[in-house]
Every structure is written in structure tokens, then in C-alpha cells.
């Protein structure tokens, strides 16, 4: 006789499971657990908005409170996905407006959000609390005004790096006078000036405000006023950090910063005048996260600042920091976990700063907790990569961008295969890897052999043949996302590893050599994949089947071919897939 805990008990237990993986595992145990779990799942993560449909989600999970949805492929960040490709939010909102009246959180990445969607959000969800739009586009400040005006319980409005059509700064003034629930506001991507007095009043009346990231238009002399009204701030992003040097501005800043005893994270710093940096020294000892990636300040000033931050865990900076600055970083900041170094002059033919592979070697040697790196540089060597790998076997994310495509080891002129090979061999926990430089099929052999925990791999201008791709597809057991551009990969490895694609979230291949015929075949034989050909030259039917497609995006889906394709996207073997879905 079967006996089990009463449903209520199981439900109570399941409530402690927050990870999707755990909940998914629970729902596979038996039918009754599936049923219980689905009724009590409150948070949904949809890694690819086309992998599932709103209807399917709603049907299975009727009581959702928080959704996180990702849309366009990652390479859309670099303009490789043409405008109009898709990832529209509206169908999700209109479905959820009907079925999830108690929805509280919407977090989106790379989706097309319209003002209409924003307005619908603001009016449909009475308890709406959190809106995070990361790298989204398609909306204007009018949409923000709807959110501000109607979401009475809003806690978070975070527009990170979204492309917003900035009609005016007036949207901020739409927050009602009795609105006090704001905890986090990130408007750093906006251009227009908001009404400063409205901002001041907003900050004053929201006692729980912990995160405030201003936009460039807020001048430095206005910062003290805001900081004084929000001494409880934990995360603060300045506006343009420049003004004529005036002692009273400086001293006001010093005083205002001193009042913020809880500040842990600083960002902003556009147009920095170095003389104003010391105003922050009082808070630096508590700072764990510093984003100076817009600060065009020279190395000595950067070092001065960083030397005051012994507890720094995360640093984003421009390559003005140079090797010398990174050396200083490695000696002052022993807690460093994440480092991102961006190029100040990526399109210049010659290096403008003295930042080389040495900086990364030094940091990897000196910072024992370093686990996540994004590094743009102009030269690299196998020796350096090997040293880095040996220094830091605890890397989780390693993204290296050598600016010149296919740049070899600058010392030996060899490919960088062995260097990256050392990375994957030593860093057994590596989850994300981005390659660059001159690379042959060999590096992929190393990756396929060693990178067993790798989940995301980005490849550009690398490899010699399909063998390279085959190594990756057949060897990387944990691979979820693979994005490839300008590599000589055809269809052989793709077809030979077609089954692998169903175990992954998505595959992107652009400017490779996958023929149209092969895409059609893949689409035919794998009905649970959407094989999308993106080609702006017109229908691939007008060219021979052997002609390679411009771009290929393959992803698993239970929703069948999508219905919102623009005219430069074709789903392979749509009819067969439709029959199945």
C-alpha cells in the first residue's frame, strides 16, 4: 500500500527548494510530486523565449510570481543578429496578464520590449515589484512613465544597458508622491536629464533605497545632495564625474560619501576628473565592487584609488590600468574574484596603452580567489596562458579577447592551442570560455577532452575543419550554449552530432560554411529543434543547396517553429515540425 506525506507537507518541503534543477528533479519523481510541485512553483527561468510558449508555461505552472526570460542570442550584443529578428515580450505579457494577476517580478535579457508591454505590465499586476530589463530595447521613456505612475509597490527598476528611446527625463516625475517602496533604481543607460528635484524627493521618501545608479546627465556637484538623503545606500552609481575643480564641491562630496557607511559598490564615473576621485577614499575600505569601465583615467590615479580598496571583490576597468596597475591590484586586493579589463581604443591600429598579457599573469598569480576574467589585450603567448592556468586552477569564467583576429603567440608565432589547452586542463571547474587568437583544431581537441564542466563556449576566427567542431560537440558533456562566428566549420560535425543539439540550449553559427542543404536536413531529422536560417540575401531557395547560409541558429524547443519570424529568417522543415508539435 502506498503511503506518503500529505500534500501540504510535501508542499512545505518543496518550498525550500529554490534551484530550478532541484525542482525539476522533484517533479520527475512521480505523478503526484509533479502535480504538487507545479502548483507551488513560484519562480520560472526561461533561458530561451522560443524554447517554450507562454501557453505551455502557464498551463503547467499556474501560480507563478516571478519570471526570468532571455531572448536574443548572445551575439546580438555585437550586432550580429539583424534588427527585427524577434524576442518580443508582448505575447508573454498578454498571456501572463490574464493568468498571473499576482505576478511580482519580470526579469528580461535581450528582449524587445515595447511601451505597450510596459503599460500592460503596469496595469495588469497589482502587486508588481521588480522589473529588470537587461540589454533590452524597443521602448521609450514613455513606457517607463507608465511603470512609474502605476506600479504602486514597485521595488526595483533596473534598466541595465538597455537601449531606450529617450524622449525626455520626465518619466521619473511620474512616481506618485506617496510612492515610497523603491529599493533599487538603475537608470544609467538613459541619456536625458531627469528633473533633479523630483529625483531628490524620490530618494528622500524611499527609506529602503539600497541601489541608486544615476545616468551621465547628473553632474557631480549634485551628488552630495542625493547621498545625504540616502545614507543607507549600498550600491551607488555616479553620473558624469567631472566639473571644474572647486574646493567646496570636493569637500561636499567627501562629507556626503563619509555619511554612507554601507556603501559596497560604486559605478558610473563617466568623464572622470581624477582630482575628484579622492573624495571617495573614506568609503573605499568597505568597497567590494568597483566599475570604472567608463572612467578614462590613467593608471596612477586608478592605482591610487584601488590601493584604498583592500576588500575589492569585483573590478571592471579600462585598459588604462596597464600592466603596472594590475600589478598593484594583485598586491592590494587579495580578495579579488572577478576582473574585467575593457579596451579604451579597440579600433586603433596600434596599442595606446601598455597593457599586455603580463598584467593578467600577475593578477592570476597574486589573487588567489580570482575566478572570473574578461580580458581584452593585443598580445598573448602560450607561455603566459600556461602560467595563468597553473596559477589559477579555480577559474570558472575565462574570456580572453585578443583584439586582432587570429593573432598568434607573439613570441613563437605559433597558434595558441597549447595555452588554451592548459586553461581547460587545469581549470576543471571552468563553466564559460571565450577563445581568440590563432587557433587550430587542436585547441578544440583539448577542450573536448578536458572541459567537462564547460557550459558556454564562444569561438571566433578559429579552427581548421569540422574536426574541431566535432571535438567540442562530442566531448563537452555539459555544453549548453555554443556560439561560433567566422570559422571554417561545415555540416559534417553538426550532422554527426545532431543529437547533442537537443541537450543544449542553443547553437549559433555565423559566417561559417554550413550549407543550406545541411540545414534542411538537420531540420528534417530533428523535429524537436528549431533550425533557423538567417540570411539577408533573400530566400535560400534562390541559391544552390550547397551554398552556405549566412547565419544559423539552432535551439531545442517544445513550442514548434515560431510564428513571428521576419522575412530574413527561415525555419527548416517547418511543416514536419508543425505536424509534431
Amino acid at each position: 500500500m502506498a503511503y506518503s506525506f500529505p500534500e501540504e507537507v510535501l508542499e512545505y518541503v518543496f518550498a525550500f527548494l529554490s534551484s530550478d534543477k532541484d525542482r525539476n528533479a522533484v517533479s520527475l519523481v512521480c505523478k503526484s510530486w509533479y502535480e504538487i510541485e507545479r502548483w507551488c512553483r513560484r519562480r520560472i527561468f526561461i533561458g530561451n523565449c522560443y524554447a517554450v510558449s507562454p501557453q505551455i508555461v502557464i498551463r503547467r505552472f499556474p501560480e507563478v510570481r516571478a519570471v526570468k526570460i532571455k531572448g536574443k542570442p548572445h551575439f546580438a550584443d555585437f550586432n550580429l543578429v539583424p534588427e527585427g529578428w524577434g524576442a518580443y515580450l508582448y505575447p508573454w505579457i498578454s498571456a501572463m496578464a490574464r493568468s498571473y494577476p499576482w505576478l511580482e517580478e519580470i526579469k528580461l535579457k535581450r528582449m524587445v520590449v515595447t511601451d505597450e508591454s510596459l503599460e500592460l505590465i503596469s496595469k495588469s499586476f497589482k502587486n508588481f515589484k521588480v522589473l529588470v530589463l537587461s540589454s533590452c530595447e524597443g521602448f521609450t521613456t514613455d513606457g517607463l512613465a507608465s511603470i512609474a505612475a502605476n506600479c504602486r509597490n514597485l521595488r526595483e527598476l533596473d534598466l541595465r544597458e538597455s537601449e531606450v528611446e529617450d524622449l525626455s527625463g520626465h518619466w521619473l516625475s511620474h512616481f506618485p508622491d506617496n510612492f515610497t517602496s523603491l529599493v533599487s533604481l538603475n537608470m544609467s543607460c538613459l541619456g536625458s536629464e531627469v528633473s533633479f528635484s523630483a529625483l531628490e524627493r524620490l530618494v528622500s521618501r524611499c527609506p529602503n533605497l539600497k541601489t541608486l545608479r544615476l545616468n551621465r546627465a547628473v553632474p557631480v556637484e549634485k551628488l552630495p545632495s542625493l547621498l545625504r538623503r540616502a545614507p543607507q545606500l549600498v550600491e551607488f552609481g555616479t553620473g558624469a564625474y567631472s566639473a571644474e575643480i572647486q574646493t567646496d564641491i570636493f569637500s561636499n562630496l567627501v562629507e556626503a560619501f563619509s555619511g554612507c557607511k554601507h556603501l559596497k559598490s560604486l559605478s558610473g564615473f563617466w568623464d572622470v576628473v581624477p582630482a575628484y576621485l579622492p573624495a571617495m577614499y573614506n568609503v573605499c575600505s568597505r568597497i567590494t565592487s568597483l566599475n570604472l569601465s567608463y572612467a578614462t583615467v590613467q593608471s596612477p590615479d586608478l592605482v591610487e584609488l584601488i590601493s584604498q580598496c583592500p576588500n575589492l571583490k569585483c573590478l571592471w576597468v579600462l585598459d588604462y590600468i596597464e600592466d603596472a596597475g594590475l600589478k598593484a591590484l594583485s598586491s592590494y586586493c587579495k580578495d579579488l574574484q572577478e576582473l574585467r579589463v575593457f579596451p579604451s581604443d579597440p579600433y586603433g591600429a596600434e596599442p595606446n596603452v601598455s597593457l599586455t598579457e603580463q598584467g593578467l599573469v600577475t593578477v592570476s598569480a597574486g589573487c588567489p580567489k580570482l575566478q572570473s576574467v574578461l580580458y581584452f589585450c593585443r598580445q598573448m603567448s602560450n607561455a603566459a596562458l600556461i602560467a595563468i592556468a597553473r596559477n589559477r586552477p579555480n577559474f570558472i569564467r575565462f574570456r580572453l579577447c585578443i583584439i586582432e583576429p587570429q593573432a598568434p603567440d607573439y613570441l613563437t608565432l605559433e597558434p595558441l592551442d597549447t595555452g588554451f589547452g592548459a586553461i581547460v586542463e587545469n581549470c576543471k571547474e571552468l563553466r564559460r570560455l571565450s577563445l581568440s587568437g590563432l587557433l587550430t583544431d587542436r585547441v578544440f581537441e583539448y577542450i573536448g577532452t578536458h572541459a567537462k564542466k564547460l557550459e558556454m563556449l564562444s569561438i571566433a576566427f578559429a579552427g581548421d575543419s569540422d574536426l574541431g567542431l566535432h571535438h567540442v560537440l562530442s566531448g563537452c558533456e555539459s555544453l549548453r550554449k555554443l556560439e561560433i562566428r567566422d570559422c571554417p566549420f561545415g555540416h559534417k560535425a553538426l550532422l554527426a552530432n545532431a543529437a547533442k543539439l537537443e541537450t543544449m540550449r542553443s547553437l549559433w553559427m555565423s559566417s561559417c560554411s554550413v550549407s543550406y542543404g545541411a540545414c534542411k536536413l538537420l531540420g528534417q531529422k530533428m523535429p524537436r529543434l528549431n533550425v533557423e536560417v538567417i540570411d539577408e540575401r533573400g530566400s535560400p531557395n534562390s541559391r544552390p543547396e550547397t551554398c552556405p547560409v549566412e547565419k544559423l541558429y539552432v535551439y531545442r524547443t517544445v513550442a514548434g517553429p515560431r510564428v513571428d519570424k521576419p522575412d530574413f529568417v527561415w525555419t527548416m522543415d517547418e511543416d514536419a515540425a508543425l505536424r509534431l508539435s
Partner: protein
């Protein structure tokens, strides 16, 4: 019910049956090409059990593939086509002549910077040119031996053979597709359509398209991989700091292009053009499909021909004009001010109906007079 999967009929020997627990086998043989469908376990298992199943299957399923015969010949000139013709089999023992499959590339001396540049310039073009670029590269790689290869002598042989056995064993689709190999190889280049992609954001300035990219940095779309927000910020910052003297412009300048009646807008990189004519042709090609629809014609092979003429008529006639919004938010006709001034101030473009654009032209002239 697992869908029937394709196996490959190897030439000659070694059609070892697949895993015994496979379900129904559908065999479809096609005349001449020896195509057979086989159901080999792995596909359905793989998807439910996860990626570990894939390697399981590959371990157990040492299929015999005649990779050679499976090819859709891509017809990249200079690629390994001669070797492909040789008949071979991959046996479970892994004995195979890897030289036939994947001939070692000649290991060469120092990287030839020319090949690097041609690679870069090959990639900066629209896709058809990219393909051409690859062909050029492959040519130089295979025939001129300029490719840099990590020469490890005897070592390089072994891993390849092991891997090829793996390639053989993986669950996947191996199909012999009918190919007109001899026909398609050389013709592929030519058959790339004349309507090659000229969209702004896929192509650099046409006059710059040569392999000897000099000091002016050849720009590849989306490389280095920096987000637009950061790029635009850098651009503005460097302008402010007067660092741009004499150097080429700081990266791409993407602006949105909308058209009345079009369902979605496009983006173009203004820096890839140097004249209004280039911009205009690119936009024509990009928005041709919309005007065709509006003209009511069907999608047809000859539509490019029809389209260009029609669009030009439309554009140069009274139907459509190209306008832009400048930094002050005013809409003006494109073409009145010098090109450099235009790209400095253009925030976005719009293809308007002529009737909507009446009255714009004079303002543009006046405005530039006032400003200069």
C-alpha cells in the same frame, strides 16, 4: 516512438548492425547512392537522459561511417576535395588512414601577415564575400602552405585517428546526399547571387575592400566583441577628450532606419559608407522587400531585377524620401549637407513618403547655414 534515424551505408565493408535494442528499422534505399535509414538507439535516449548518453552511445556504437561519401561538397576551392574521393572505412578498431580523411596541413614557418589580413578583410565583407574570403584563404592555406600549424610531428597523427573513430561512433546523422560535386565546386563562387548583401552593418566601405588592409584598421562586424552601449560611450568620451585627432573614427556608428509601413526597422553602420550614394543603394536593397510587398508583387526569382528598378523609381520619384533626425531632434532631408557633417549629426534615419516630407528641404539648408 523514436523517429527513424539515418545511418550511413558505408562503401564496401563494415555495415555492422547497431545496438541490438534498437526498435523498428526503417530502411529506405535510394538508387545509386546507397542511402539507408537505420534506427540506432541513441537519439531518443540522448534527449531524455542528457548529454552523458551521447558519449555512452558513441562508446558503444562504433558505427562505420563513410564520411567521405556523406559529403555535401561545399566546393570551397582548394579544400580537401581530392582526398574525399578516396574510398575508406572507419572501423571500430580505429584503424584508418587519417591522412586520407584529414590530411595534415603543411606545417609552416612564420605566420604570413598577408594571410592574416586577407582573412580579416575576407570577413569584413558581406557574407558572399566572406565565403569568397574563406575560399581565398583556403587557397592560400592549402596550396601556398602559408598556414601556421602546430607541428608536433608524429604526435599529431594519433589524436586524429582516435577522434575519427569517435566521429564514426557518435549518434548523429550521416547521410549520403546526392551531390554534383564536380559541378558545384567551382560554381559555388559564381552562383553566389549578384544581390550580395550590401547592408550597412555587414559590409565595410566598398572601396576599402581589398586584402592589403593597411594601417587603417580593417573593421570586422561585431569585433572586437564590445556592446553597443560601451562602444557609443567610448566614442563620445574620446571625442570629448580630443583623442581622435587623425585616427580613424572610433568604431561603428549604428543608427536605426525605419520605413513607413515596414513591420520592423533595421540598423545601419554609417561609418561603412563614405557617400550618400552608397548609403542610398544599401538602403534600397535592405528595404526592397517592403516596397515589393507594397507594390503587391509576389516573391519571385526575378524579383531583384524588378525590385531595383521599381525601388529606384520609388525613391527618386515622389513616393519615398530619405530623412534623418539630427541631434536636436529635427527631421531633415538627407543629402543637403556634406557627408561628414551628416554622420556627425545623424541620430536615425527614416524613409518617409514623399508627401510627408514636404517642407523639410529648406530647413536643412537654413539650418546648416545657421550653424556654419
Amino acid at each position: 516512438m523514436s523517429p527513424p534515424l539515418l545511418g550511413v551505408e558505408g562503401g564496401g565493408r563494415g555495415n555492422a548492425p547497431l545496438m541490438s535494442s534498437s526498435a523498428s528499422v526503417d530502411c529506405i534505399s535510394q538508387s545509386g547512392s546507397g542511402l539507408k535509414e537505420r534506427n540506432y538507439l541513441g537519439l531518443s535516449d540522448c534527449s531524455s537522459v542528457g548529454s552523458s548518453a551521447v558519449s555512452n552511445v558513441s562508446g558503444e556504437n562504433k558505427n562505420n561511417l563513410n564520411l567521405n561519401a556523406t559529403e555535401l561538397r561545399l566546393g570551397l576551392p582548394g579544400s580537401r576535395s581530392p582526398e574525399r574521393d578516396s574510398d575508406f572505412n572507419l572501423l571500430t578498431s580505429g584503424k584508418l588512414d587519417e591522412k586520407q580523411l584529414f590530411p595534415l596541413l603543411p606545417s609552416m614557418d612564420g605566420i604570413c601577415s598577408l594571410s592574416q589580413k586577407s582573412i580579416v578583410s575576407g570577413n569584413k565583407r558581406g557574407f558572399s564575400d566572406t565565403v569568397d574570403g574563406f575560399s581565398e584563404i583556403k587557397n592560400s592555406v592549402f596550396t601556398d602552405g602559408k598556414w601556421m600549424f602546430n607541428a608536433n610531428g608524429s604526435d599529431s597523427g594519433t589524436p586524429q585517428s582516435v577522434v575519427e573513430a569517435k566521429l564514426a561512433g557518435n549518434a548523429g546523422i550521416n547521410v549520403m546526399l546526392s551531390n554534383n560535386s564536380s559541378g558545384t565546386q567551382p560554381s559555388m563562387k559564381k552562383e553566389v547571387p549578384t544581390r550580395a548583401p550590401q547592408e550597412g552593418h555587414n559590409k565595410l566601405n566598398g572601396s576599402n575592400n581589398n586584402s592589403s588592409a593597411p594601417a587603417a584598421k580593417a573593421q570586422v562586424v561585431g569585433w572586437p566583441p564590445i556592446r553597443s552601449f560601451r562602444k557609443n560611450t567610448l566614442a563620445t568620451t574620446s571625442k570629448n577628450n580630443d583623442e581622435v585627432d587623425g585616427k580613424p573614427g572610433p568604431g561603428a556608428l549604428f543608427v536605426k532606419v525605419s520605413m513607413d509601413g515596414a513591420p520592423y526597422l533595421r540598423k545601419v553602420d554609417l561609418r561603412t559608407y563614405s557617400t550618400y550614394q552608397e548609403l542610398s543603394s544599401a538602403l534600397e536593397k535592405m528595404f526592397m522587400c517592403f516596397t515589393i510587398r507594397q507594390c503587391g508583387s509576389q516573391e519571385a526569382p526575378g524579383r531583384e531585377m524588378l525590385g531595383e528598378n521599381k525601388f529606384k523609381d520609388l525613391l527618386h520619384g515622389s513616393d519615398y524620401v530619405l530623412t534623418f533626425e539630427d541631434k536636436d531632434g529635427d527631421w531633415m532631408l538627407v543629402g543637403d549637407v556634406p557627408w561628414e557633417m551628416f554622420i556627425e549629426s545623424c541620430k536615425r534615419l527614416k524613409i518617409m513618403k514623399g508627401s510627408d516630407a514636404i517642407g523639410l528641404a529648406p530647413r536643412a539648408m537654413e539650418k546648416s547655414k545657421n550653424q556654419s
